[in-house]
């Protein structure tokens, strides 16, 4: 299938740079560190507060920079499309967000992200900065045993940003902020699917072929193919497939309260996401679980891919308090 390049892009080499300038123009509460692709809160580092930072390839907007603001991230490094930021960018990010209380780095489990973040951390630690990390690996489509690089980090990362950001906003120390971030990681699962591939600016064509009458289950967020290809199914059947995979993995007790996310991959209308959410909530009820909060929207996208992911996270009183705490960011507002 040939897909024409009809995009709001001037030059594929400039797309991240121009996006970041557009973001700071839209959101005066954040600024861009000079000569980098790093965005931070305008008032970073925030006195007396642990910094919470994230980062990764671009193309997942509003992830990552869109979650900068009160109650979530202090800053985020943007790599090129679907490529990890480099270690020196992570270094600048950490340095700019450390008030002296230390920094939590939220890393999605991809080799490039992990290695560049770790290299940066080893360097800033030599300068005496305290850094803790949490590696998010919520993608239940990838088996740990088969793929030695382990499960990928996907939409569950948003909940990690939220919980860690809220804990840091309370003035808690780095250990505590890391503890709650890890608690989310230990209790969250996600599975995604694609109706179409996405088109990266550089290639200008679909990154994988997907016939009109087939869908990919178990996709990641970088335009890589999924774990299984099947015939087109109805929205309810797809929702069931994704939800059952996630719930199988989480293995929750009856009566457990959960937060659910129906996340759009970038090219799917909100209407369809709500259709998915309707079925998701029915299935949650069938499993004897209780939805404490249901999020629907484009939280972690894959450029213009059509498709969705479903995230379920078991919550206790502490996580409910943190996920429900105020946050004021372009990508997520909680009042």
């Amino acid at each position: 299938m040939i897909v024409g390049m009809k995009k709001l892009i001037n030059d594929s080499d400039d797309v991240v740079d121009e996006m970041l300038d557009g973001m700071t123009a839209a959101y005066p509460d954040m600024r861009r560190l000079p000569d980098t692709q790093v965005l931070v809160r305008d008032d970073a580092p925030v006195d007396g507060k642990v910094g919470v930072v994230s980062g990764g390839g671009s193309g997942h907007e509003p992830t990552h920079g869109g979650y900068i603001g009160d109650g979530m991230l202090d800053g985020a490094a943007a790599g090129d499309v679907f490529s990890s930021p480099t270690a020196d960018e992570f270094e600048e990010l950490i340095a700019a967000t450390d008030s002296g209380e230390g920094v939590l780095a939220v890393i999605k489990n991809y080799e490039g992200d992990v290695m560049n973040f770790e290299t940066a951390i080893e360097m800033v630690e030599m300068e005496g900065t305290d850094v803790a990390t949490v590696v998010v690996n919520d993608d239940v489509a990838v088996e740990d045993s088969l793929y030695t690089s382990g499960r990928r980090g996907v939409c569950g990362t948003i909940l990690v940003h939220k919980a860690a950001g809220a804990k840091a906003a309370e003035g808690e120390d780095l250990d505590e902020v890391q503890r709650v971030a890890q608690k989310v990681v230990d209790n969250v699962g996600t599975m995604g699917m694609a109706l179409t591939s996405c088109i990266t600016p550089e290639k200008g064509e679909a990154t994988f072929d997907l016939p009109e009458d087939e869908i990919e289950l178990g996709i990641g967020i970088h335009g890589e193919p999924g774990t299984e290809r099947t015939d087109v199914m109805s929205a309810d059947e797809i929702t069931e497939e994704l939800t059952e995979s996630v719930l199988d993995d989480l293995d929750l007790d009856e009566g457990q309260e959960v937060v659910t996310i129906v996340n759009g991959m970038g090219g799917t209308p909100l209407m369809e996401l709500f259709v998915v959410n309707r079925k998701l909530q029915e299935l949650i009820g069938d499993h004897g679980l209780e939805t404490w909060d249901a999020w629907v929207g484009d939280y972690m996208t894959s450029l213009d891919m059509e498709g969705a992911s479903i995230t379920v996270c078991a919550v206790d009183d502490e996580l409910k308090e943190l996920l429900g705490a105020p946050a004021d960011t372009p990508g997520l507002t909680v009042q």
């Binding site: 790599g79 270690a87 080799e111 490039g112 290695m115 560049n116 290299t119 360097m123 030695t148 690089s149």
Partner: protein
């Protein structure tokens, strides 16, 4: 500039030129098992590194190596940046007293350790570690046990790296992108091990130039590659 630093500047330029000339070969190797960006990213990054070290004002060897490493780290990006460049940065303090056979061994050992730590990889994972481990072990043994002249020790290390590259072909990848192919990775030569060999070969050529002598002939019978457990000990 010290003679040692001159050698580093020359070596980084030689590596950059070599990677550029092997660019499409590396990309071909990578497209079979990864995302086909190894040749391009490495060529760009090492070319920048060669310029960066050439621009240094009267550096010592340690500073030159550190500068090369930092440039590779930021310009190559991906996983290769931290592995090739970050490890140079972290190993560079071993050259504080200049380049001698002893500091070169310490540098090589730290470099290997950093690559293994960062990549969480061992011998037998079908990665650059498969080329680097026999090279470093052979170099150390040649210097410390066999008391060979440095150039001969380096030549033996290169021969060992070559065997390591061949060793990646019939084994299954368990680190890096190739690991996602599972058993389909068997039969592919690892691009990281290959570029590591190119780097070693250029170090040898540069060292030979420095000593104003020919690259010595050595037999490639040195190392003990096979299993990861033995390599650990």
């Amino acid at each position: 500039m010290s003679g040692d630093a001159d050698a580093v500047v020359a070596a980084v330029r030689a590596v950059a030129d070599r990677i550029e000339s092997e660019r499409s070969h590396l990309t071909d190797l990578d497209s079979a098992i990864g995302d086909a960006d190894h040749g391009g990213n490495m060529a760009r990054g090492w070319a920048e590194a060669a310029d960066a070290v050439a621009d240094l004002d009267d550096p010592d060897a340690q500073t030159a190596v550190k500068t090369a490493g930092k440039t590779v780290l930021s310009e190559v990006g991906g996983a290769a940046g931290p592995l090739y460049g970050g490890s140079l940065v972290f190993a560079s303090p071993e050259l504080e007293g200049g380049i001698t056979p002893e500091t070169a061994v310490a540098f090589a050992e730290t470099y290997l350790e950093k690559v293994k730590d960062r990549g969480d990889a061992n011998v037998g994972d079908q990665t650059m570690v498969d080329a680097l481990t026999p090279a470093v072990h052979t170099f150390k043994k040649s210097i410390e046990t066999d008391d060979l002249p440095p150039l001969e020790a380096l030549a033996k290390a290169v021969a060992a790296a070559e065997i390591g590259v061949q060793f990646t072909v019939p084994i299954r990848a368990s680190k890096g992108r190739a690991s996602y192919l599972g058993w389909r990775s068997v039969g592919h030569q690892d691009p990281g091990a290959t570029s590591t060999l190119y780097i070693m070969e250029e170090l040898l050529e540069t060292a030979a130039d420095q000593f104003d002598s020919e690259v010595p002939d050595v037999d490639a019978t040195s190392p003990t590659i096979p299993d990861a457990e033995a390599a650990e000990n």
